[in-house]
């Protein structure tokens, strides 16, 4: 999906604060986000801090999106476990899926790439893939889930998913 179209769709569905740590898979999205002010998009120095910012933004009236590489999922787990998942903080996590296919040639992504979905399942975090079929109906369902369940939701983003 085109980054502009994705961002428009997210905004149309009420997502109004973005934070995170960049990944090369997200460079097109980040390029657009960088043109916005810090009340709409504020990068964070690390993924756990991005999740903390998102929690504050949520309590302050926003519906947040946090973007990160799956390597950042490691830093994020304790925060998800002891903040979002117990307090009930809805946040959409755009999680890039490093370590798949030929990307497994990058040794630092192998272990997390192999276990990303296991980890999400173990923590009871709902997820799906941002694939070719992804459309506004899916996003509306995700939004409904976030509002109803007051829980995080994760969209896995493969290399060419956002162009």
């Amino acid at each position: 999906m085109n980054a502009d179209a994705l961002l428009l769709m997210l905004e149309r569905n009420g997502f109004d604060f973005f934070t995170g740590v960049p990944c090369s898979y997200l460079k097109n999205l980040c390029r657009i986000l960088q043109t916005r002010d810090s009340t709409f998009h504020q990068p964070a120095p690390r993924e756990d801090i991005a999740l903390g910012l998102a929690a504050g933004a949520y309590m302050g009236g926003k519906l947040p999106v946090v973007y990160m590489q799956n390597s950042g999922l490691g830093y994020s787990l304790e925060v998800l476990a002891s903040l979002h998942l117990i307090y009930g903080i809805p946040v959409l996590i755009l999680l890039t899926y490093r370590g798949l296919g030929e990307d497994a040639g990058w040794e630092e992504h192998q272990v997390m790439g192999r276990h990303t979905e296991d980890i999400l399942r173990t923590f009871g975090i709902r997820y799906s893939e941002l694939d070719d079929q992804f459309d506004e109906d899916h996003l509306r369902d995700i939004r409904k889930f976030l509002v109803r369940e007051q829980n995080p939701y994760c969209l896995l983003v493969d290399k060419e998913a956002i162009t």
Partner: protein, 186 residues
Amino acid sequence: MNRMEAVRLIVEHLHSDDWLIHANGAISRESYFCNDRFKNFYMLGSMGLAPSIAMGLALHHPEQRILILDGDGNVLMGLGNLALIGALHPAHLIHIVFDNGVYGTTGGQPTLSGQVQIWEIAQGCGYRICRRVDGMAVVPAFQEMIETPGPHFLQIVVSEDVPFAPPRIPFAAHQIKERFMEGIRF
């Protein structure tokens, strides 16, 4: 001065509109014990992240005074937060650190605050007024920070003494969130 006394000193000088974001552990429990308010957010876990939560609120409520009640162990765990707050310079945010030099709730193991000047890190990150104070100097330093555009960093040196263990916060996490959101309804 022990931490409970320092916490009491701060909460006695609050404005009723102030929002308070607490670090996990004893700081949350002591503040709850001294002066529980709907506008208090108590972090149970996610150590180091109280400033991130506060910054997320401050971004969208720039005129609101927000206080972070933090500890030295917490700050050292989340130093990236100092860079973030220094960079964004929220004018009405005051970061208060009760520095007893130890991880109190786990048995008093030393933190690095004995060897590192945390307030100088905050200053280097761009906080406006940065002070390391104890005893009688706390209130005037706090007053000065209230009257001047921030962000400010108030490191309060306290003893490790814990005269008595304050009770646990009797709310589940989701109740803490709902109460706080009700309290700050804007």
